[in-house]
Amino acid sequence: MEYKLDFRTYSDALKKNKLLGLKCNDCGTFTCPPKMTCQECAGTDLEIVELSGNGEIVTFTQTFVAPQGRECEAPYTIVMVELDEGPWTMGNLIDIAPDKINMELIGRKVRLGHKVFPGDTYSDGEAARPLFSFQI
């Protein structure tokens, strides 16, 4: 059985600021990032949908110790965003002063952009990830 929406397709779409996910035709749940089956009911009757890319921050961290090869990115802020359609997705947050990164971030509304991780020795190529900024 083939993936309805695989990583490469997801990443290529994200590079055009389109966030693709899956809608379950059995239970209505949206799954994003995509996977083989519905995150809630394990159903396989799924259709590819474009999500709004809007959501709110549910948690975050500002990272100072980066993995090898990514030292120049630190410090950076990772956010977990609950998308308006329900699923949570991980990305980075931009447009924020370092001294403003605190618990007040939780609940802030954000919208989607993207940034490409060019890859390293261990990553089998590049990968786009969500890059969130505040909704105006």
Partner: protein, 391 residues
């Protein structure tokens, strides 16, 4: 199924920059476990090992076969289990099932790791491989970041102000260092204070340096045997009364359940039900304190505290010897050290010694301990639990 007991155990010093190889460390711990069991290598029927990053740290894969040959367990079946930091506990659970089923009578289980050989940047990179490489690593996901996000989520969800939560987290690290002082195998022999934790450099907010366990080198091993064999070998068999294991997907896939870890709750339920015991029956617990917040989340998932109130156990001193639920009297991953492939075997070694009453001289015996719990977390969602008891 037959009853299965821990017969003997072995444990190297956990440390930075071990002069030994991973196979050498594991061979030393294994021979100590075999000798403590009054056995010879030829008595071992199979080997189960945990080792995670031997390939990255010293260019060595398949340590299990080289271990078997090194210690003179010539040509026996030797298998390696990989579940990130829970690898050795996974190996123990499988070894338990093979002995319980009657397939083997005597087996050796152990784990080894030499993470400090990688240095912090590569170790941070390779540890992050136990998160989702395609959908979460590109955002700079690291393991400290996982628990940092858990901490902020915890503070918000349970309405524990971050400042208070940080103090509770600091108390976890302070207690671990206190007991680590008394454990000759521990990586750190140094008392710390809440102020020192709260003034450490920020790794990933809100986790500061002393909220995080170290990278470590070390090994631990145990011999498991069927009840009838165990009774011939030792007058202090420690029985594996219950086992449990569960898995989870990437952090975002666990969404609504977080900061709780469902895999832990499912795994420990299996172990409790199998043992016919509950959290109130546990006398001593070794749990997976890779980060201070992880301990607070763990005591709740294991049933020792209400959700949102785990940190109060440390505030009230209930996690010390003599408290309601003594936790990580070894010093835990924080002070004892966390050579990831070895950690589960180290935890089992510690609980075995507690239940045998062997820690009086070290000043960290839980008086009268009869039932113990092991809790090990791998990556962002593999959990293995073991319940040990004496007759």
């Amino acid at each position: 199924m037959r009853r299965v007991a821990v017969v003997g155990t072995g444990h190297t010093r956990f440390m930075f920059n071990s002069p030994k190889t991973e196979v050498e460390m594991l061979a030393e711990a294994s021979m100590d476990a075999i000798n403590a069991s009054h056995l010879k290598p030829k008595d071992i029927r199979a080997i189960f090992t945990g080792n995670v990053l031997g390939d990255f740290s010293e260019g060595q894969g398949m340590v299990q076969s080289y271990l078997a040959n090194d210690i003179g367990c010539f040509n026996i079946p030797a298998s390696k289990f990989e579940g990130a930091c829970a690898s050795a506990t996974m190996a123990i659970r499988d070894a338990y099932m093979w002995v319980a089923s009657g397939f083997y009578d005597i087996v050796l289980v152990g784990g080894t790791e030499k993470a400090t050989a990688m240095g912090t940047p590569l170790a941070t990179r390779t540890f992050a491989m136990f998160g989702d490489s395609r959908y979460e690593y590109p955002a700079g996901f690291t393991f400290p970041a996982f628990f940092a996000m858990e901490a902020h989520l915890y503070s918000k969800k349970y309405n524990v102000p971050l400042e208070r939560l940080k103090e509770q987290m600091a108390l976890v690290s302070v207690q671990s260092h206190h007991y680590g002082m008394k454990n000759p195998h521990a990586q750190f022999h140094k008392e710390i204070t809440v102020d020192k934790v709260l003034s450490g450099f920020m790794v990933t907010s809100p986790l500061q340096l002393l909220d995080c366990c170290p990278f470590s080198d070390g090994a631990a091993a145990v011999v498991l045997a069927s009840e009838d064999v165990a009774k011939r070998l030792t007058d202090k068999p420690v029985y594996i009364a219950g086992v449990g294991q569960a898995s989870s997907g990437k952090m975002s896939s666990q969404y609504k359940y977080l900061p709780r870890l469902r895999a832990r709750e499912l795994a420990v339920k299996q172990a409790y039900e199998m043992a016919g015991l509950g959290p109130e029956d546990i006398d001593v617990c070794e749990l997976h304190d890779c980060f201070s917040i992880a301990s607070i989340i763990a005591v709740e998932g294991l049933g020792f505290a209400e959700f949102g109130k785990g940190g109060e156990l440390w505030e009230k001193g209930e996690t010390k010897t003599g408290g309601k639920i003594p936790v990580n009297i070894s010093g835990g991953l924080k002070a004892k050290g966390h050579p990831i492939g070895a950690t589960g075997a180290s935890q089992l070694h510690e609980i075995t010694r507690q239940l045998r009453g062997e820690l009086v001289d070290e000043g960290r015996q839980v008086a009268g301990a009869k039932v113990g719990l092991v809790d090990t977390l791998g990556g962002d969602g593999v959990i293995v639990n073991l319940i040990l008891k004496t007759d």
